[in-house]
């Protein structure tokens, strides 16, 4: 037991060392500063995918994360641009706004199951896009552009985070921000899944009626899981808006929602860190295939089909089966 625990602590420490020290060092050594942007995107997308994974955990297929990412992006952008809020304040507000919205939306639709829930959430993504086009405050198809970079954050006069605009390397700053949030997010997920609530959620995944009959408050659990999921989506969307300094109705579309779902599938639905690995592989795979030009999509989707045939339970199932054999 203690050995297992030490192993866990060691692997977490190794992971932290890699993302916070090794990766920046390697990037500055090689001079490939564009990788910061790629890795930041991976970190943010994996946060959103983690949310989708959580809804998978309660046995729901969620293809609506794009809607919450878009919502979070707009909430943050509008608060910064129209009301002059600090970005750092809008970040939790965007998350909470999405969580609140998801409670309202989730109350009726979480009663649906299987493909019905999947399709309704898919429609939700479209609704969000159409709403962003139709509402006056979101400025229609023109979107909201030239959002200022995040300013300084100080507590009692002590500057915790410097103003991004004054930094020489705002890419590094965004990278560190995204990775920190990713670590926090997956820490929360890990804790949640291994807690009492996590076990209860697993019972929902297997049999809701049975869980309900032995006194699990399934409606409450579903809402909680969905709200946490949407919170992650909103936060990821808000940072994306800040990085690209713009947000449009087409910033997050059905394709993004589907991709969030695919990240979870690829990494493995049975593993908390599945979405992180899945996002990394899918995003980098897509980037690497850029050289193949017009065949990019063909090769990408072909590989995905092959992967699905060989490893239908996700990439991390490979590690599990090796461990079992050993």
């Amino acid at each position: 037991m203690t050995r297992n625990r030490n192993m866990k602590i060691a692997s977490v420490a190794a992971f932290l060392a890699i993302v916070f020290i090794a990766v920046p060092a390697a990037i500055s050594a090689s001079g490939r500063f564009d990788l910061y942007y790629t890795l930041t995107s991976v970190a943010l997308l994996s946060i959103a995918s983690a949310g989708v994974w959580l809804t998978f955990y309660i046995g729901r297929i969620n293809i609506g994360q794009g809607a919450y990412a878009l919502m979070g992006g707009y909430v943050s952008a509008i608060l910064v641009m129209n009301y002059g809020w600090s970005f750092w304040l809008t970040l939790p507000v965007a998350g909470l706004f999405c969580a609140a919205a998801s409670v309202l939306i989730g109350l009726p639709i979480l009663r649906l199951r299987g493909v019905y829930f999947a399709m309704v959430t898919l429609v939700l993504t479209e609704v969000a896009r159409l709403l962003a086009l139709a509402l006056p405050i979101t400025n229609g198809a023109k979107g909201i552009v030239s959002i200022p970079l995040p300013g300084a954050l100080s507590v009692f006069g002590l500057i915790i985070i410097p103003d991004f605009a004054t930094l020489q390397n705002s890419r590094l700053a965004f990278y560190l921000l995204a990775v920190t949030l990713m670590v926090v997010c997956f820490g929360v997920m890990y804790r949640l899944v291994n807690s009492r609530i996590g076990k209860l959620c697993q019972s929902l995944q297997q049999n809701e009626e049975l869980a309900s009959s032995i006194g699990v408050n399934i409606a409450y659990l579903r809402i909680i899981a969905y709200a946490v999921s949407s919170f992650f989506g909103g936060v990821a969307g808000a940072i994306f808006a800040a990085i690209s300094q713009s947000i449009y109705p087409s910033s997050f579309t059905v394709t993004d929602s589907v991709n969030f779902m695919l990240n979870c599938f690829l990494g493995g639905l049975g593993y908390v860190f599945g979405p992180m690995l899945g996002t990394l592989v899918l995003y980098f795979g897509w980037d690497l295939l850029f050289q193949t030009g017009q065949f990019q999509l063909l090769i990408y989707s072909g590989l995905m089909i092959v992967l699905m045939l060989v490893l239908p339970n996700g990439l991390l199932s490979l590690a599990a089966s090796i461990r079992k054999k050993a």
Binding site: L112, Y116, V123, L130, L297, S301
Partner: protein, 288 residues
């Protein structure tokens, strides 16, 4: 008003035919076929090539679309979906496969046919103009053909041996297997038929709206909507859903015209309210 209803009926007939294929695949395999819209586009392009480019008769083009897609559907079931369903712990995994095949078709279509909007010569010339209804003859022909196909499909499912086997399969897979229905074989036939329907509608509609490589995704979403309205996996539901969506679109475009492009927003909102009251659609089986 008559015009609106006529438009709605015409739209509904083609939508119902799209939804039928999707719901058939869902009923048999519990697979949500994300690639349905792409199959439609592929069917459209095949008809475009055979009828528009090679100049062969339209009927032959339609046949080519249907047969090609049926073969593709059968191969997909045999080599992709069957394998994944067997190996995977969770049956949702087929959704990743379906999404991947959708991307794959998108890529293939783009490579083979390019991104241009393609159209073909009209199959029938002239416009019907009587009793306040204006409708080109080719639309009427397509609408009638769609209804004929729907009727043929329903009769086939109801009275043929294959249709009976597939209905048994949809009702209870295990029980059907125990009764000696060859599950693998009929799953394959069902998948092929669903794909064929998508291809045939694509072929029919290329004569009116044309086709381009980007419309696959939106068509899939519309098909999902219709299936949800009617209830997933139910033939009658798909037909009802198709006509309801066609009618809503037609009415919405007329009534909501002055508010801008909000028809689909209203339809989506209405759908979500409807589904929260009736989670299984009009006639769906519970928790499909």
């Amino acid at each position: 008003m008559e015009q609106v209803i006529a438009n709605g009926l015409y739209l509904g007939a083609q939508y119902a035919l799209i939804a039928l294929g999707l719901t058939l695949i869902f009923a048999l395999m519990n697979v949500l076929n994300f690639a349905h819209g792409q199959m439609y586009v592929l069917g459209g392009f095949i008809t475009y090539t055979v009828y528009g480019q090679l100049g062969l008769p339209f009927v032959m083009a339609l046949l080519a679309s249907g047969v090609t897609l049926a073969v593709i559907g059968a191969l997909m079931e045999k080599f992709l979906f069957r394998t994944v369903i067997r190996r995977s712990h969770r049956e949702e995994s087929t959704m990743l496969l379906a999404a991947a095949t959708a991307f794959f078709f998108d890529a293939v279509i783009l490579l083979l046919f390019g991104e241009k909007q393609r159209g073909v010569p009209k199959i029938v010339k002239g416009v019907f103009n009587n009793a306040g209804i204006i409708m080109p003859y080719d639309r009427m022909v397509v609408g009638v053909l769609a209804i004929v196909f729907i009727a043929a499909f329903v009769l086939y499912m109801q009275y043929s041996r294959v249709g009976r086997a597939m209905r048994a399969l949809a009702q209870d897979r295990v029980a059907a297997q125990l009764m000696g229905v060859r599950v693998d074989r009929y799953s394959m036939i069902g998948f092929a038929m669903g794909a064929m329907l998508a291809g045939v509608v694509g072929g029919l509609l290329v004569t009116i709206t044309g086709v381009n490589s980007g419309i696959g995704g939106p068509i899939s979403i519309k098909a999902f909507l219709m299936v949800m309205i009617g209830g997933a996996g139910v033939v009658g539901g798909a037909i009802a859903g198709g006509f309801i969506l066609g009618m809503m679109e037609s009415v919405g475009l007329t009534v909501l015209r002055e508010y801008g492009d909000v028809t689909y927003l209203v339809i989506f909102a209405a759908l979500m309210v409807f589904l929260s009251i009736r989670p299984n659609g009009l006639m769906g089986k519970p928790w499909g």
